[in-house]
Symmetry: C2
Subunit: 332 residues, 2 copies
Amino acid sequence: MGGDHGPSVVVPAALKQLDREPELRIILVGDREVLERELKSCGRLGDDRLRVHHASQKVEMDEPPAQALRNKKDSSMRVAINLVKQGEAGACVSAGNTGALMATARYVLKTLPGVDRPAIITALPTITGHTHVLDLGANVDCSAEHLFQFAVMGSVLVAAVDGNARPRVGLLNIGEEAIKGNEQVKEAATLLSRSDAVNYIGYVEGDDIYKGSADVVVCDGFVGNVALKTSEGVARMISHFMRQEFTRNWLTRIAGLLALPVLRAFRHRVDPRRYNGASLVGLQGIVVKSHGSADELSFANAIQVARREAQKNVPERISHQLSSLLLERRAV
Amino acid sequence: MGGDHGPSVVVPAALKQLDREPELRIILVGDREVLERELKSCGRLGDDRLRVHHASQKVEMDEPPAQALRNKKDSSMRVAINLVKQGEAGACVSAGNTGALMATARYVLKTLPGVDRPAIITALPTITGHTHVLDLGANVDCSAEHLFQFAVMGSVLVAAVDGNARPRVGLLNIGEEAIKGNEQVKEAATLLSRSDAVNYIGYVEGDDIYKGSADVVVCDGFVGNVALKTSEGVARMISHFMRQEFTRNWLTRIAGLLALPVLRAFRHRVDPRRYNGASLVGLQGIVVKSHGSADELSFANAIQVARREAQKNVPERISHQLSSLLLERRAV
């Protein structure tokens, strides 16, 4: 029921993803009447891989997380996460209020043993393919130990979903020239260098994210959120300028028409919708957050992210890796 | 003598800028022999608005700042900053080692009264024009008071160089949805809301930088540096993809040729060289840092940044604003 567009996007996106993945089954959680109306208008009432689960409430996009947690025990968000907890669903996907989603997921599912704080991770495009960045805003202040745990979680997730046995993990830091980083980052670097749990490649800088220098980029949630939003801002400005230049006069418009197939191919490669779907990692269950403004294609991608993690049993793998780390530390 | 290319870029850039600005005079500081050879090869030995000031040493790009400060008392960097201190030069421009430049500038020029820490500020393009962001890496950990001072310095600088009487100042923060920011940012917001010294407009997010929502964006040096480098990374990836798509086959190459004037106009608008030149603010003198990899056009722009600040007497204006703030606080 969440996000900027609610069921009018989520329902067709779910149907699209069902068509793409023959093994997939989806439970739509929310106001039964609204959802069934939407399904009917798509002509898909009665699909046997799809069912509606009623929830009488809805978390508002600007609702304080604590309030949602206290007062919205039958919200679509809460009920969907409950289904994951009960094992009825393999994962939950939501375009709703991020803070409330994190708070509810943490409360209902609990963190994995060895995880102090869950984090938010997403894939981003690079020149050579893609990379994963975490944390993207769940934790504004992080200790070295938190950053270390993010590195382990990111590494396990990427190993599972990308089939990349030893993903290269970089720690986001600033200029080689200036004094290197803050205390937490320096200490996290020491922890990572000493551990065999991740394939730590050292510091990376902001521009390395898009060079594909690392498969996992680790940073605190404040820095990660700024990096992500700044990237969106740059990309939007560039596409704005491009549109402006191609629509300046009839000559440039003709040039734009002639270059249309190229511009389309180009746009496809940097299409942020293909990277929609950020995972809440470190929980005893899979929760994926879609961008609030997601359209059909975008939201379908978030479903795919969730499905992949469920297939690969990501929380279990993280738990396994972290418990062996805990044992190791105790042995030391 | 610094930067990736040294005098082979700096000298022609200086000459270019002299041609553009008839009132400008330039002192080239460094190895006299090298500089005169370069001038000769440009056919400009004996220009009366240009003189060479010999310096026997050079700070290496990877030299630790403390070492440069101790051992390189006759480096081109140190001597150029000395000239500013002595009033012989109105500003210093360098493409050299950032850490050493900041350390030397701080040591020789000293900070302005009321400034705890100098910061690095640069202009960045936006959809509607440009904005200024600080700090970009001089200070990795900042208190609320530091952020407040950055806001004042940025505001005064923009008011002076852009002739914008009440520049809008935003504090960089993360998502509206998540828990808002860290303690320092929240406290800085309180300080800024209470003060009349700046036209504080509230929190801005990473994507707001490029929307032009604020004329000055304030953040700590870690966050600012990551935002800047991430932006460079995104822009580089996008232009890489664009080039790839336009050179895919003969058809796309023809489309590229036909669209060339448009693509050129577009490239000009996002050309990072036009934004080269980051100022070290908060010092008793003007020092501008050029990107190490700057080419001629790029370095000439950094000279222009320095010249504009010198014309407007930016350090004096900052000092004036800060001392009236100090008086105000004492009165309270």
